[in-house]
């Protein structure tokens, strides 16, 4: 069975009410989506809520899956759009508050600063990044989008994406290396 046929089959079975088929979709893609959601939102709690909302959307929108791309790609795009809506909405609310976003945050890595950066330390430090530069950093350095794509996704200029990624890397460097 090709991947396309397997995707079409599992989608058809889910739509016909096969609960095991939907669980298969969840098991295959949940870790990738949860990871993206946690990093974009900057917290595991929010990431868990986003994961729920995203897979409910997947369930509701499966009828619009046409098989043009792999199911995993379709789920990822839906998840990414949902995460972007979430961060935009949160940014709009935060912009109404007094400017506290760039307040200095303390961070202490587990690994000594003169040794290679530990993944766990970087993972924790990403959560501490200010909104804006965290999303650009996650999309560019973790998810692998180029600056033009990051600009389109976050509705910012390409140059702004570069400066946000620089800002994120500089903050991470300050916490993890200096």
């Amino acid at each position: 069975m090709t991947a396309e046929v397997a995707d079409a089959d599992i989608v058809a079975r889910t739509q016909a009410g096969d609960a095991d088929a939907f669980e298969t979709i969840y098991r295959r893609h949940a870790a990738r989506i949860y990871t993206l959601a946690c990093r974009m939102a900057g917290s595991a709690d929010d990431g868990e809520d986003l994961l729920q909302e995203i897979f409910l959307q997947v369930y509701r929108k499966l009828g619009s899956f046409k098989g043009d791309a792999a199911l995993g790609t379709w789920v990822y795009r839906l998840a990414l759009n949902h995460c972007l809506d979430y961060v935009r909405s949160r940014r709009a609310k935060m912009n109404k508050l007094t400017e506290t976003l760039d307040a200095e945050t303390s961070f202490e890595p587990q690994a000594p600063r003169d040794t290679p950066i530990a993944r766990l330390d970087l993972e924790r430090a990403i959560e501490r990044l200010p909104d804006g530069c965290r999303e650009a950093f996650v999309l560019h350095d973790v998810e692998g989008f180029d600056h033009k794509e990051v600009g389109q996704l976050l509705d910012i200029a390409e140059g702004t994406s570069k400066s946000q990624v620089f800002k994120a890397r500089a903050k991470l460097r300050g916490w993890l290396k200096k």
Binding site: A16, E23, R27, A30, T35, D49, K96, K162, F166, R169
Partner: protein, 260 residues
């Protein structure tokens, strides 16, 4: 002169043209601080690209399954009005046949609704900020009072949602508690007692000062912690019923860590 931030970013990403790359190469030969900066940023970029996936908590699937079960049943009920009964019942039975999960569907709705309520109230500007945003030409005290009352009303609303959801989950957990061994049951009780104490203290603080933001946050966080514990309890019941010892052990381990 040091390269610009965007030039450094492009250099680290390897997207500069040959001439610009050569310019920065030359600068780095004579500038140790820029060289360290570039090295560190390359390392950060490299580690970021190799980060591992994170597994969601087991309760995430349990919650989702409950919500989807409810939705499938709602859809079936809607279809039943326009399709032959055998077609509509097929889908409904398929989800219900998954075991004892259908009876948790109502709790799922409350959980989702409460989660949304929490997000809204936590993102609402506190009264002091709302004051700043209010038009200065109107009476400031009146708008401050209105904002404070609005937050209090939302808090009461969120509290109602939580209490309903918690009550539903407590009934489920209480009806099924005989499945736990004495040690696990004791851990659950201990964790619940700690959270209930925090809820009592937050309520007492709010009675003394109803507009206290820390007390409001503390009460909501305590409710959220209690919901999460009860969700874990329900997930544990499900894993034990399915005979998934590894999944159950993972949840019990998480409960112990929280209680330590």
């Amino acid at each position: 002169m040091h390269p610009s931030e965007n030039a450094i970013t492009d250099y680290v990403d390897g997207t500069l043209d040959t001439t610009a790359t050569a310019d920065i190469d030359r600068h780095l030969e004579s500038c140790p601080s820029c060289r360290r900066l570039v090295d560190d940023m390359r390392e950060i970029k490299g580690v970021a690209a190799s980060l591992e996936l994170r597994e969601p908590p087991i309760r995430s699937w349990t919650r989702l399954e409950r919500a989807v079960t409810l939705e499938a049943e709602t859809r079936s009920a809607q279809r039943a009005q326009s399709a032959p009964p055998s077609v509509a019942l097929h889908a409904q039975r398929a989800w219900r046949s998954r075991g004892a999960l259908g009876w948790l569907a109502a709790a799922a709705v409350l959980l989702v609704a409460t989660g949304v309520g929490l997000k809204l109230i936590l993102s609402t500007p506190p009264p002091s900020t709302a004051r700043t945003a209010a038009p200065s030409s109107t009476a400031p005290n009146a708008s401050a009072n209105a904002a404070a009352q609005s937050v209090e009303a939302e808090l009461r609303q969120a509290e109602d949602h939580y209490e309903k959801a918690i009550k539903g989950l407590e009934q489920i957990a209480s009806a099924e508690q005989n499945v736990f061994d004495p040690k696990t049951a004791a851990t659950l009780q201990k964790n619940l007692a700690v959270i209930d104490q925090a809820i009592s203290e937050s309520r007492a603080a709010l009675r003394a000062e109803p507009t206290s933001e820390p007390a409001q946050q503390s009460l909501l966080e305590s409710f959220k912690a209690k919901m999460a514990l009860l969700q874990d309890t329900v997930s544990l019941i499900n894993e034990m019923r399915k005979g998934n010892d590894a999944g159950a052990a993972q949840i019990v381990s998480g409960l112990k860590q929280k209680g330590d």
